[in-house]
């Protein structure tokens, strides 16, 4: 029993008669793949499921990226300020540090899909696709923030202690030294790891299908559920994700090369 060995139906025969002659003379397996491609992409304008879904996936990823980086930087700074202070840190910093640790533990200790289900069905109860997208973006952002925070913290720690001392002796306060001296250098060190997180984030957004968000994966699922073109739909889906990730990888490597210019 094989997927490509479906018997030729009337509709398929009808479609075949409109195709070029080389396809009409091709083996049945090839004809079936082309028919599935036609059903998946062209019939009933099905391609719009992919393009609409792609839009949602990209929006969710970009939104989550922004939220994740903002949270990540904040938490990384709090955590390193707490850990690097020689005296006993002030009470406010200790509370902030404890909260950050709690956030990291909870977010990194539970699966993404569970966080999403809780956010969607317990915390935010979104209505309609717009609110679903917002709910998913916030959840992904909160999730990503925890990982970004630890990546950035590792970057900050990778910068020599002397840089901080130099900044402070030049009259910068702690925040200014962080902002103008430490973070820019740290970013360069952690770029590969951040890129990795971005790629993971992009693919992870497919989890949002469980709450009913019409993202790229959902688009393919909808096509499968109406046309049953399992093979071609899911392979098309995989190809789109792959192209997205390849484009991101390329973009990141260009960015990394730019950053390296200052090393010479």
């Amino acid at each position: 029993m094989s997927t490509v060995m479906l018997a030729i139906s009337e509709k398929m025969a009808q479609w075949l008669s409109t195709t070029p002659s080389w396809l009409q003379n091709a083996p049945e397996g090839i004809q079936n793949i082309f028919y599935q491609l036609y059903q998946t992409w062209i019939m009933n304008d099905n391609w719009h499921y992919f393009t609409d879904g792609l839009k949602v996936t990209i929006l969710a990823t970009l939104g989550a990226l922004v939220i994740g980086v903002v949270i990540g930087v904040l938490i990384a700074v709090i955590r390193s300020a707490h850990d690097s202070s020689r005296k006993k840190p002030p009470v406010a910093l200790r509370i902030l540090n404890a909260l950050s640790k709690l956030y990291l533990t909870v977010v990194r200790g539970t699966p993404m899909i569970v966080q999403l289900l809780i956010m969607c069905f317990v915390v935010m109860v979104p209505r309609g696709q717009e609110e679903l997208l917002r709910c998913a973006t916030i959840t992904f952002g909160l999730n990503s923030g925890a990982y970004v925070a630890e990546i950035i913290r590792s970057g900050i720690q990778s910068i020599d202690q002397g840089q901080m001392e130099a900044g402070r002796s030049l009259g910068f306060n702690y925040g200014q030294t962080m902002r103008y001296i430490i973070i820019p250098q740290a970013i360069k060190n952690i770029l590969p790891a951040l890129g990795n997180e971005l790629i993971t984030l992009l693919k992870e957004t497919s989890v949002a299908t469980v709450i009913g968000l019409n993202d790229l994966t959902k688009g393919a699922q909808i096509i499968v559920s109406t046309n049953y073109t399992t093979l071609v739909s899911y392979i098309s889906l995989a190809a789109i994700y792959l192209v997205l990730v390849l484009a991101l990888t390329k973009l990141l490597s260009i960015f990394e090369r730019r950053m390296k210019n200052s090393d010479r």
Partner: protein, 296 residues
Amino acid sequence: MKVNRKWIAALVIGAMVFGAGCSSSTEETSTESAAQTQEETTEEAAEEEVQEEVAENDTTSEEVAAENVTLEEGMLIMSTNATFPPYEYYDGDTIVGIDADVAAAIADKMGLTLQINDMEFDSALAAVQTGQADMVMAGVTVTPEREENMDFTNSYATGVQVVIVPEDSDITSIDDLQGKLIGVQQGTTGDIYCSDTPENGGYGEENVQKFSSGPLAVEALKNGQVDCVVIDNEPAKAYVEANPGLKILDTEFAVEDYAIGVAKGNDALLDALNNALEELESDGTLDKIIGEYIHE
């Protein structure tokens, strides 16, 4: 393995209790190419799905041409989505219901051992086409699009699509659904009808929210995330019974026939199933099974 299966079943039930439904992991199985061997399919199934053997191989019963019509010798593999009472649902760690019992009776007639694989509805339909299951019984309605890609037996039960709304809802009949947010189980006929364009009698894709299981759609309805849920009558009754504050509209959304789906072109199995169904119908077993689950 025994312990492992029970453990997985317990997890799945736990997840359902929390209204969380199944994970989306079954997509992976669907993408498996058809070239894979039988062993791989079985392994995959063992890993990802809860399986149970409902019927024992009864060699004394009359055998209805069961030779070489199934994927695995001596086995009848059925794919389903066990979130659909009373057609299929979990009772403890076994899948029971009309479909499960009818399947067991059919397997008995054919002298085969029944194995039920639980997965999401979409995947259950795809499984028979990719050679992961012999047949799908999941309250499947025959539609032209489905007939295009798989073959169906004669109908064994009638399903009715109904609308679930909160008790204080301003939706009083099907005519009020226009412009409302409708929750459905993805890939079901309720989904297909509602997602159609208004010209074709639907409500437009933008007004339909597709969930991976019925309970998730009902959960969203309770939260006010959707205005109503369009789903099959019998599971709807079970959901409403379990969730006070919901009711089913008196007017029916659509009436339709349930049938068993098999891979396109698998006439030998189709005939064997039709024969078995006919026998079950004439000796009253079918009515008895349905009567056990549906009291009217």
